[in-house]
């Protein structure tokens, strides 16, 4: 699904990311962990072609992301609040996305219906601009927008950050269901080790821009390896 080769990002002489080879399979839930400055967000930005690669490439279903833009129809993402339009209300924002993705109104309503528990009646139908939302609610709008348009791949940067515990659990449930129903691939970066080990079947640990560990399938091994690393 996603194939990365020789991916390097440098700012001047400082190297922030260097991944030799990495393949992410369909319907995988790919967790990305690492301390501050490990390169998690940079990796996501490179996958989404938001920043230029220094060397190497990212391919999504065989398409080089910097050469085509077809893949954007199949990839949903939310990295930070700069991806939203702060001067719209959440309803208006979803309506704008509906037009961009070419969905019918029914499709939008049913897509948003899944988010009812997560939204907790605080997002839709409110006369409030996105810029006036709390950090948690901002995140919910962003996450919901990443799910719109039936994407094959969803990238979420720190989705659990700023969410209350109830919402965190609801989000986990949402992600798991989505994977089971539609075989959606998820890429999730997080500092919350419990949550990522819970939902992800694969976890990659980054350190200073390099892949230090690539753990698959066995949750107990994942948990103990990660706890070893982070308790140094």
């Amino acid at each position: 699904m996603i194939y990365v080769e020789n991916l390097v990002k440098r700012y001047g002489t400082e190297e922030v990311l260097n991944i030799e080879k990495l393949t992410i399979e369909r319907s995988e839930c790919f967790g990305l962990v690492g301390n501050n400055g490990a390169g998690k967000t940079t990796f996501f930005q490179l996958i989404l072609d938001l920043i230029r690669t220094t060397t190497g490439f990212v391919k999504i279903s065989g398409e080089n992301v910097s050469e085509t833009e077809e893949w954007k129809n199949r990839v949903g993402s939310y990295l930070d609040e700069h991806m939203l339009l702060p001067f719209l209300s959440p309803d208006e924002y979803f309506e704008t996305l509906r037009k961009i993705y070419g969905l019918t109104e029914e499709e939008l309503t049913s897509a948003l219906a899944r988010f009812k528990p997560l939204f907790n009646d605080e997002i839709l139908g409110k006369k409030k601009y996105i810029r006036d939302l709390s950090k948690g609610n901002l995140k919910k709008v962003g996450i919901a927008s990443a799910f719109l348009g039936n994407p094959d791949i969803v990238l979420l940067d720190e989705p659990f950050e700023n969410l209350d515990p109830t919402s965190q659990n609801r989000l986990k449930k949402l992600i798991t269901e989505e994977r089971e129903e539609k075989e959606t691939t998820f890429l999730i970066s997080s500092h919350d080790l419990t949550h990522v080990t819970d939902i992800c079947n694969r976890i990659v640990l980054l350190e200073k821009g390099r892949v230090l560990k690539d753990l698959k399938d066995n949750k107990d091994v994942m948990a103990s390896e990660l706890s070893d690393y982070f308790n140094r």
Partner: protein
């Protein structure tokens, strides 16, 4: 996607926190544009008469053929200083399935909404009809005018491209700007007239659409150049390039004698030196120090220096330019970290005092740098002293207090693509009260007594302002303190 983009841009404008402020400045810009158009139409209508009667031109079409290149060079220089670069927040759209090229086409198309786009048409339409078409037939006239307009549009793209290259690469490219000035200088000294060499090209319109075709190709090429440059740079990481200023300005100790306001003035100075936008104001102010050369002149031998009202304006302008620019966004510079000051005792008071101190010092510095103008007469020194007293005593407060009306949050760290707002016309317009105020004192006294008495009166007013410096500062402080919840909540929500 275009209608959707237009709708979103409109909503963004209308829902901006500082809508009122933006509206007023837009109205002022609009009034200015109407004025300019009015003048352009006036010039256009009388151009034929002026050329024939005043300048004694016999063959107007031939004259226009050789003058066209100068018009285009002049338009280029004007465009370079006044034409705005289109702004766009790419972060919001790049991850969505919208074509990057579509965004850029929209952005570039939007930039065509400018007075410059119609300037060539307005200026040359009447003369094309009355002179060119009359002499050589309408077909020639239409082709001639279309060629000129197409070149003018090519300039539009060329300027966008140049501005972008300069903003991201080197200021040294600005030197390229001198090139279009060279033909004018050569012409002025009667050394060389490139118009003579380009005239045959424009006159070819007579025999067919060759010049128009060439102009069209040039225009397309210029658009391609700008377009591909924009598309290739439409990424969200632009900055991060180590610059000479990146870590400049450690402690200078310049303000150490002023206590807490001094410490804040020092941090403000760092803010100015470490951000591109404020730095460009600084450079601009330094360049405008030379503005006086246009107005001050040596008295003719045997005559004495004649002081007039214009000198006041020039003096005030030269010494105040930095704070007029910087001060208009007084608190906005600190918008992303106003809480830093709010949370400490007397924080706002110290912040405002510190900023005012820095602005006053910028005036003093400009005054010192402008001392060489004494060469044109000791009276210039008097003018500059008066200007300094007015600026620090009164002017500063006018600028600062008016800036506190609905201050805008501003992201000073944004330096990337499409976020280069330079010095807008609107800013000069918002400063009109500041430039008019000295004449409220100066004009009556100059009429009743003489210019020197008027100068003295203005200086005295400035001195009075200085005497009540703290009182006047307290006005700004109390405005901010009374509106602190409103201002800080605006700022916290960001731009």
């Amino acid at each position: 996607m275009t209608p959707e983009f237009i709708r979103l841009l409109f909503l963004e404008r209308v829902r901006s926190f500082s809508f009122g402020r933006d509206l007023i400045s837009s109205i002022m810009v609009l009034v200015l544009i109407v004025f300019i158009l009015f003048y352009l139409v006036g010039i256009a209508i009388f151009m034929g008469l002026i050329l024939k009667n005043e300048l004694g031109v016999e063959d107007v079409p031939a004259f226009l053929n050789s003058a066209a290149v100068y018009y285009l060079l002049g338009e280029f220089i004007l465009r370079f200083f006044l034409q705005k670069t289109p702004l766009f927040d790419l972060n919001r759209y790049l991850h969505l399935p919208i074509k990057r090229s579509g965004i850029i086409h929209f952005l570039l198309g939007k930039s065509m909404l400018s007075t410059f786009s119609v300037m060539a048409l307005i200026l040359f339409l009447p003369i094309t009809i009355t002179e060119i078409s009359a002499a050589h037939g309408p077909l020639y006239g239409i082709q001639w005018l279309a060629t000129l307009i197409t070149f003018s549009i090519s300039l539009h793209w060329l300027v966008l491209w140049m501005k972008d290259v300069i903003s991201r690469k080197h200021l040294a490219f600005t030197a390229l700007l001198l090139l279009p000035a060279v033909p004018f200088i050569l012409l002025y000294f009667n050394l060389f007239n490139i118009g003579a060499y380009t005239a045959p090209f424009f006159s070819m319109s007579q025999s067919g659409p060759i010049p128009l075709t060439i102009a069209f190709v040039v225009c397309l090429l210029c658009y391609r150049l700008t377009f591909s440059n924009y598309v290739n740079n439409a990424y969200t990481d632009q900055v991060k390039k180590p610059s000479a200023f990146a870590f400049s300005g450690g402690g200078t100790g310049l303000f150490s004698r002023f206590g807490m306001p001094g410490i804040i003035a020092e941090t403000e100075l760092k803010l100015i030196l470490r951000h591109k936008k404020s730095r460009s104001y600084l450079i601009m102010s330094l360049l405008f120090l030379f503005y006086g050369l246009l107005f001050y002149e040596l008295p003719e031998p045997g005559e004495s220096f004649e002081l007039n009202g214009l000198h006041i304006f020039v003096g005030v302008f030269i010494t105040a330019l930095f704070f007029v620019q910087f001060g208009q966004f007084f608190l906005s510079w600190n918008s992303s970290f106003l809480d830093f000051y709010l949370k400490r005792k007397n924080g706002i008071r110290d912040l405002i005092r510190g900023k005012l101190l820095l602005l006053s010092m910028s005036c003093v510095a400009a005054f010192l740098l402008a001392l060489p103008y004494v060469y044109f007469g000791w009276q210039i020194l008097l003018v500059h002293i008066t200007a300094l007293l007015y600026n620090v005593g009164i002017g500063i407060h006018i600028i600062v207090i008016s800036s506190l009306w609905k201050p805008k949050p501003m992201d000073i760290n944004k330096g990337g693509m499409f976020n280069y707002d330079g010095i807008g016309v609107a800013q000069f317009l918002m400063a009109i009260p500041f430039f008019i105020a000295p004449y409220i004192i100066y004009a009556p006294v100059a009429l009743l007594a003489n210019s020197y008495a008027a100068l003295a009166a203005l200086s005295f007013t400035g001195l009075l302002g200085l005497l009540f410096y703290n009182r006047l500062t307290d006005i700004s402080i109390s405005i901010v303190e009374n509106n602190r919840y409103k201002i800080s909540s605006f700022f916290r929500r960001g731009t």
